[in-house]
């Protein structure tokens, strides 16, 4: 346990400079935008005179220099103040906190689903590389891996929601249905079927391919040869030796894909009108809301760091070799 605590501390300390780079670069990028939030706001209310604009700029601190504003942002950040969303007229942190659970539910379900199905099919394919079953699964996975999630979402909703009317087309739950408890849970789950499938399919194919590749490699290794020489049952070799060897890179892949999946949720949430974190990013762009966009990028970076930390901890728990050298140094 002590080893993993050290790992956590090391990783958290190492992530501080990285986050500072993220904040600085994003801040500079967003500041170079022609026109600021005040312009966008004035445009949305149908214009206003220069004095009003100046007053608003002073109120939001937009009249100061770039470095001064960056410093202001960082000191506010130290108090967990992510600033004020101009488009929504609410604190950024509260807005993100409100939207994040929907996205976490979406991503969590998609990850669990794709991991379970992908690794199971990967074991089927990798149990006998180059067999008919393997070739079929590999070809299918290549095709599935090439389908963009947003298009798949449209096609699925066209077939399952519009034509067959089995599932709701959009939203996270039925509005003002007054459902509570289990009914509400089932309602949300029904709304999540299409977005989760659209997001998960590409990762199912990815996990299948990674699992299969790892198993193909494992078949040539000495310990598998030894297990076969010992005369172990084939199913036992496949599950206990070959698949187990291939499982570790699969978990690494989980961490690597966290950022991509978060990015993918932007389009999926926009299609299915899910009020989540990704859709908030799209709304921030549409509303030219720099403080909100800044907060979204920062929170997504923190999320990715947390996921990677969890992946590292899982790996350290599964494989005692990992982290042993780090902890002793």
């Amino acid at each position: 346990m002590k080893r993993s605590l050290r790992l956590v501390r090391r990783r958290l300390l190492a992530s501080i400079p990285v986050l500072l780079i993220v904040i600085t670069l994003t801040f500079v990028l967003l500041e170079t935008a022609p026109g600021d939030a005040v312009d966008a706001y004035l445009l949305s209310i149908g214009g206003g005179d220069a004095a009003v604009a100046d007053g608003l700029r002073r109120a939001y601190g937009l009249d100061q220099s770039l470095t001064a504003r960056l410093w202001l942002y960082l000191t506010a950040l130290a108090r967990l103040d992510l600033g004020w969303s101009v488009a929504f007229e609410r604190p950024v942190l509260a807005l993100i906190a409100e939207r994040l659970p929907n996205t976490l539910a979406l991503m969590g379900s998609a990850t669990a689903l794709s991991f379970a199905i992908g690794s199971a099919l990967g074991i089927v394919a990798g149990s006998k590389p180059e067999s008919v079953k393997d070739r079929a699964l590999s070809s299918i996975s290549l095709i599935l891996y090439s389908i963009p999630g947003f298009w798949l979402g449209l096609v699925l909703s066209l077939v399952l929601a519009v034509q067959l009317r089995w599932l709701p087309t959009s939203g996270i739950e039925t509005i003002a249905s007054g459902k509570t408890g289990l009914d509400r849970f089932i309602d949300i789950a029904r709304h999540l079927v299409l977005p989760v499938s659209s997001l998960a399919l590409i990762y199912t194919a990815l996990f299948l391919r990674v699992m299969r590749a790892g198993m193909e490699e494992a078949w040539t290794l000495d310990f598998v040869l030894f297990a076969r020489a010992k005369g172990l049952a084939r199913s036992r070799i496949v599950l206990r030796h070959v698949a187990r060897h291939a499982a570790l890179p699969l978990i690494t892949m989980l961490g690597l894909q966290a950022a991509t999946m978060l990015g993918g949720s932007v389009v999926i949430e926009s299609i299915f009108a899910i009020p989540g974190f990704g859709r908030l990013a799209h709304e921030a762009v549409a509303g030219r809301d720099a403080p909100l966009l800044m907060g979204i990028i920062l929170v997504s970076a923190v999320l990715v760091i947390i996921v990677n930390l969890l992946v590292d901890l899982a790996q350290a728990a599964l494989d005692p070799r990992i982290g042993a050298s780090e902890a002793s140094s």
């Binding site: 986050l19 780079i21 935008a33 389908i147 963009p148 449209l154 519009v162 978060l262 990015g263 760091i305």
Partner: protein, 284 residues
């Protein structure tokens, strides 16, 4: 040449090669197949595919020719995909080479920047970049490259660090070769193949990112893209689903072609690599 020969001997390689060759021919002759502006009104609105032989794939809500959109969209898709991947790989190679060779503080700083680009979701970064710079084709290319260069940089750095310890580099140093010459002529050629092996994946990801960006309305408004066609068709998804389905099929076919080529390339490269450096692992 030898590589291409090997490439087309793998079944994946030949399939991908054929798909991409057809796409390249189509996009190169886009102005011949569908002359004129693909965004102009060509006929009656919402014409179903195969109902009028002059407009074989039908028309969209504004009466624009879908075939012209697909053909010109292929050009955009391939251009943005390859340009963004090229930019990302070049930047990644440079940063990885400098970090791997310099070591010390320079390496530390560069790798923290790489970390920063890796933990920010590439799509969010592209979204932010396009919204700040305004949507145009070059901006979209840079936006996608910004989210994609970190992986090749990390890969190159690792490769450079292992190569620089090899005997032939020490030998080059001993005979007094200039460090810059060692970097460019001795180390870089060896560091490129692994990056090349993942290049097709970067192209495919870039094509998909471009499609997603223009689907969200953040592409160049004056260029036809498959993503914007899918988004446009979405408005009439119930009555005219083909408007979203056709460009989607074009997109999936392209990406499949790139992945097939990538698999073939990986097989061909692993073949040549094994032939060039036998038993690399046993020799330490």
């Amino acid at each position: 040449m030898k590589l291409i020969h090997k490439l087309i001997r793998t079944p994946e390689g030949i399939a991908g090669f054929v798909i991409l060759a057809i796409l390249i021919i189509i996009s190169a002759s886009a102005s011949l197949i569908a002359p004129g502006d693909p965004l102009r009104i060509a006929g009656q609105a919402l014409l179903a595919p195969f109902s009028d032989m002059n407009l074989p794939l039908g028309t969209d809500r504004l009466g624009r020719d879908v075939l012209a959109g697909i053909v010109h969209g292929a050009r955009t898709s391939l251009f943005v995909g390859t340009a963004a991947a090229l930019a990302a790989i070049t930047l990644g190679l440079c940063v990885g080479l400098i970090a791997g060779l310099a070591g010390g503080l320079v390496d530390e700083i560069l790798m923290r920047v790489v970390d920063a680009f890796q933990i920010v979701p590439g799509f969010l970064l592209a979204l932010a970049f396009v919204s700040v710079m305004g949507a145009s084709l070059p901006v979209v290319v840079i936006a996608i490259a910004l989210g994609a260069w970190a992986d090749p940089a990390r890969l190159t750095r690792a490769q450079v660090r292992s190569i620089r310890e090899r005997d032939y580099i020490a030998a080059a140093r001993v005979i007094g070769m200039h460090p810059a010459e060692i970097a460019v002529r001795q180390i870089l050629p060896q560091a490129v193949p692994p990056v090349l092996a993942v290049s097709a994946t970067i192209v495919a990801a870039a094509i998909l990112t471009e499609a997603a960006l223009s689907f969200l309305g953040l592409g160049d408004p004056n260029t036809v893209t498959w993503g914007s066609m899918i988004a446009e068709g979405r408005n009439v998804l119930r009555s005219s689903p083909w408007l979203s389905i056709i460009p989607g099929i074009a997109l999936v076919t392209t990406v499949i072609g790139v992945y097939l080529l990538s698999e073939g390339l990986a097989k061909a490269l692993s073949g040549t690599h094994a032939a060039l450096t036998p038993r690399e692992g046993e020799r330490s």
